[in-house]
């Protein structure tokens, strides 16, 4: 509990609905992440994942609660928290270099042109776009555009990266390559990352922790699944890991059935102490944030864990 780099404390988001009623997307949401951790959020559309990310980014303000990053409550956006947008959001009138340099010169206002350019170039090289610096976004493929988005986010050397389904608009091959790149870069730079995804395999490949959210409105964070796969996992032999299918089935079961029924079936769910799920053969061990003694969840009650 001492290692909370990011702590979301009891946030809620409500919108004024029709005829004076308010719609609650989620409330009393607690969530924490350690420094250098890669976390993925999985949930169906409408559960407020993007709202959580926007609140973390400072683009949106919570109706209640606070977000604490590195010991300080956040208010508004910050250069410490870089966002990779789903739609890449490149400025089409700027070149690749121009887009990255815009971010660099926003962070270091006093740098001269040459220094900004050199710094931006480093990150363009890092994402493998050397040679395309002077192209405009319209001349790039979808994957290359998202690479520029990643370079732009990394170039300001943020404390954390926020990604809203960054690869969902890409074809499968490009997505795989970019996942490798993001994983490599995050490991190399020790980046803390928060990613929204719909892709279970993407979450398993990238994440250290996977947050499962129930359906909205009134969505809750149901479980935090710890990824049992080794940190140096590779894409090619990922599915051969003995716990891979147990993990995958657990997540898919959640998405298919338990995301709908969780709230009704678990009336004593404590949003401040979301159960942490450790997948281990043959059963499933569950513990609540490590504070309380671990309970054992016997196989059979959880349909996914027959492996």
């Amino acid at each position: 509990m001492t290692n909370k780099f990011i702590s979301i404390e009891g946030i809620a988001k409500r919108y004024p609905g029709a005829s004076g009623a308010t719609t609650t997307v989620f409330e009393n949401l607690w969530l924490s992440m350690a420094r250098g951790e890669f976390c993925c959020v999985i949930g169906h559309s409408g559960c407020g994942k993007t709202t959580v990310l926007n609140i973390l980014a400072g683009l949106d303000a919570p109706s209640e609660g606070v977000v604490i990053v590195d010991g300080q409550a956040i208010s508004g956006t910050s250069l410490d928290r870089a966002v990779i947008f789903q739609s890449h959001a490149l400025l089409p009138w700027r070149t690749v270099l121009g887009n990255v340099a815009y971010a660099v010169s926003s962070k270091w206002r006093k740098w001269d042109r040459a220094r900004v350019k050199a710094h931006a170039q480093t990150f363009i090289d890092l994402v493998g776009l050397t040679g395309s610096e002077h192209k405009r976004p319209s001349e790039l493929s979808g994957g290359m555009k998202q690479r520029v988005g990643i370079a732009r986010a990394l170039s300001i050397t943020p404390k954390m990266m926020l990604m809203d389904e960054p690869f969902s608009a890409l074809d499968a091959l490009t997505r795989g390559t970019l996942q490798d790149e993001v994983r490599r870069i995050c490991l190399e730079t020790g980046q803390t990352a928060f990613m929204i995804t719909h892709d279970v395999d993407e979450a398993i490949y990238l994440a250290d922790k996977i947050f499962l959210m129930t359906n909205g409105p009134g969505a809750v964070l149901a479980e935090v699944v710890e990824n049992p796969l080794p940190r140096d996992r590779g894409r090619t032999d990922l599915h051969r890991h003995p716990l891979y299918y147990a993990l995958r089935n657990h997540i898919i079961d959640f998405l298919v059935t338990r995301s709908k029924t969780f709230t009704a079936e678990t009336p004593d769910h404590d949003p401040r102490n979301v159960p942490v799920v450790h997948i281990a053969k043959p059963g499933l061990t569950i513990a609540s944030n490590g504070d309380e003694p671990r309970q054992t969840w016997t196989p059979g009650t959880n349909p996914g864990l027959t492996a």
Binding site: A57, L79, A89, L91, P92, Y102, R136
Partner: protein
């Protein structure tokens, strides 16, 4: 079929149409020979219209000859009612330029402000909606009474007619900048002023330039009418003066030149629009 051959064929059709038009014009206005016998002195007094059945409408050859005469000496000045066409057009272009520039200076910053502020947008909307459809010439008496200078009044009329398309397009362009671009600027902690110049202005520029292009077209339409009213100088005054002289040839030449200058102004703005347009 390649595009170059399409362009060639279109050019040929254009030339054929022009030739047909000039031909019909020539045939319709030519002399039909002597229609009445009269004493030579009386005939001289009556002119070709009565004696040879010639139409009062000049033919293309008359207009061409007169045009050549004008083009050879565009800048002569023989007093208030006899100036070269170059001078007259120069006056008109200068008035349009002044009024238009003033309108740009007002409309674009104001449009930015309105576009960025939903409050101002709602508050000013009724005024804009009422002022926009007023014919610019309806302002003329008010302008003459308050400004007491006919030339400045004409500039004011140009200002008032070219401000609306620019203002509305700027408001629309600024208000509909993609949210994701604004969010990029926000996550990079870009200040309001820098955001306005580095994100909103380039994003809204194509829409703003389209408004400016509509405005220059309207301004050029209005200047002719305004100069007919205020008199003195300008291509509009020239048209009216030549009408009073019953010189249809000069009126036709002026019409032709008004069209050419209007086209050039539009092309200049079109070029600027292309410069700021970005492919997505």
């Amino acid at each position: 079929m390649t595009t170059s051959s399409l362009r060639l064929r279109a050019g040929l059709v254009s030339i054929a149409l022009l030739a047909a038009f000039l031909g019909v014009w020539h045939l319709a206005t030519r002399s039909t020979g002597t229609v009445a016998t009269m004493s030579p002195e009386y005939a001289k007094l009556m002119g070709l219209t009565a004696t040879q059945g010639k139409s009062a409408m000049p033919g293309p050859l008359d207009v061409g000859a007169k045009l050549w005469e004008h083009l050879r000496r565009p800048f002569y000045d023989n007093g208030p009612n006899d100036k070269g066409l170059g001078i007259q057009l120069g006056y008109s272009i200068a008035r349009v330029g002044m009024g238009y520039l003033l309108a740009v200076l007002v409309a674009i910053p104001l449009g930015f402000l309105i576009g960025m502020s939903p409050l101002l947008s709602k508050a000013l909307d009724p005024f804009i909606q009422v002022l926009k459809p007023i014919s610019p010439l309806a302002w003329m008496p008010l302008a003459l009474y308050t400004i007491k200078d006919s030339s400045i009044s004409a500039i004011f009329v140009i200002f008032i007619c070219s401000i609306w398309p620019m203002l509305l397009n700027t408001v629309f362009g600024v208000a509909s900048v993609r949210k994701e671009w604004i969010n990029v600027a926000r996550t990079l902690e870009v200040g309001t002023l820098r955001r306005a110049f580095t994100v909103i202005l380039p994003a809204a520029a194509p829409t703003i330039l389209t408004g400016m292009r509509i405005s220059i077209g309207i301004a050029w339409l209005v200047i002719v009418a305004a100069e007919m009213l205020v008199g003195g100088t300008g291509i509009g005054y020239f048209v009216w003066n030549e009408w009073n002289n019953l010189s249809i040839t000069n009126v036709i030449i002026a019409i032709l030149l008004i069209g050419v200058v209007g086209m050039l102004l539009d092309q200049i703005l079109a070029r600027f629009t292309r410069m700021v347009t970005f492919p997505e």
